[in-house]
Assembly symmetry: C2
């Protein structure tokens, strides 16, 4: 069933507005009496649509119980990649349960983002996250926080710090990721740093280790910057969510 | 270091030909004395280039020991998706260690492939697999076997049969995948069926269960057809390859 994340105000007045109302009216062509799921403030409700126009009104049928969120908060610090790879990273990373994304400028990033374009890019990426959260039945929408230089990020609040490092894969490292994941406790905060296409520079490696990051291989094969996050998120899900 | 998969004949005559020779000469602009990895028949060798022209000659420095292949053979039966999603599925699925891919036509596939276009498509997808295998340091190149109707596929030789099924995720199923993965033994053959965008049809579900498939949720969130395989492959790698 289609899910929409709506604001506190819209929830209070039992209306769906903006793009979501347009989606109900023009894309799904729904009628009064049709049902959707409305999510607000981490809770989800089955609702019945009562009037469909520029805005859509609804009434609540029942609150839906059932948590589909990872038991830990995984923040992805993704080295800014080339082309449109971020679209898929945010879309599928949302399906895989990421809590938020910080687009991270590192030495080997090829792309430069002008200050004036940052806000528009963040708006666009947050919209992708919202749509993916709706499709994948998340209870929260992961935030695309900011575009920041690696050195300007404050990692001090994280309980665990994972650096995905392909040189470790080549060197046969095979225990760090699993030992971190096995030590996770509910509600832990985890920072995951993934380099851009060219990888992590030696000085960045040294810096990240100095502030408490553990470099980890993601299995023995070399994953690309745009596919590395799925390995970390699946492994956490496999360990903590599957029985 | 760049890796090239070459044929038995080329390996015997210590030459690299075709697109790979072009890549060495024109893209990487390598010189005599530069080193690459050459892979043949599941073995990998560090080689030094001795002459660079339309064909490239090399001499072997040493055989490289070290297995980067999953300890089991995972065959992906991917419901044929829309657009260019298969490019990424084959590229990243190769990085994640898939053994082979069969592009599977199911009831809810939107795309129809004309018989006359199959061979060209398979050629193209096998080329993507070869390039991805080289980049991700695989010892073998996963084969894109064929484009086949689900009912025409012979699954009898597989030791384990996994059906990725999103309705199970919605219903809270959370143990089937892990219990299969925990029972895997070295060299087991595993078939993984993933539906197209519209999912698995009820009759297909019934048929697959009747021939021994276990339907499995991939965690509690709904993954898309083009991202489901990473969950299965990472989970196998996490369980069997990480310590």
């Amino acid at each position: 069933m289609q899910k929409y994340f709506i604001s506190e105000n819209d929830f209070e007045s039992r209306t769906i507005t903006g793009d979501d109302a347009f989606h109900i009216r023009k894309v799904l062509r729904m009628k009064s009496g049709d049902k959707v799921i409305v999510s607000n403030n981490s809770k989800a409700y089955l609702v019945s649509l009562t009037a469909i126009g520029d805005e859509v009104s609804f009434e609540i049928i029942e609150e839906l119980i059932g948590n589909v969120e990872l038991p830990v908060f995984v923040s992805i610090f993704q080295g800014y990649p080339k082309g449109d790879k971020l679209d898929d990273i945010i879309k599928h990373g949302t399906e895989y349960g990421a809590y938020d994304f910080t687009l991270t400028m590192m030495k080997r990033c090829v792309v430069k983002i002008e200050e004036s374009k940052k806000q528009n890019k963040l708006l666009r990426y947050n919209k992708i996250a919202k749509e993916a959260a709706e499709q994948s039945n998340r209870n929260i929408v992961p935030r695309v926080v900011d575009i920041l230089d690696l050195k300007k990020i404050d990692f001090s609040s994280y309980d665990h710090k994972i650096l995905c490092y392909e040189e470790d894969a080549k060197a046969g490292e095979a225990s760090n990721l699993k030992s971190i994941i096995r030590s996770l406790k509910k509600d832990d905060k985890i920072a995951v740093v993934i380099g851009p296409e060219g990888g992590i520079d030696d000085k960045e490696l040294e810096y990240l280790k100095s502030i408490g990051f553990t470099s980890c291989a993601l299995g023995p094969r070399i994953l690309r910057t745009e596919s590395a996050l799925y390995y970390v998120l699946s492994s956490i899900s496999y360990e903590m969510e599957l029985k």
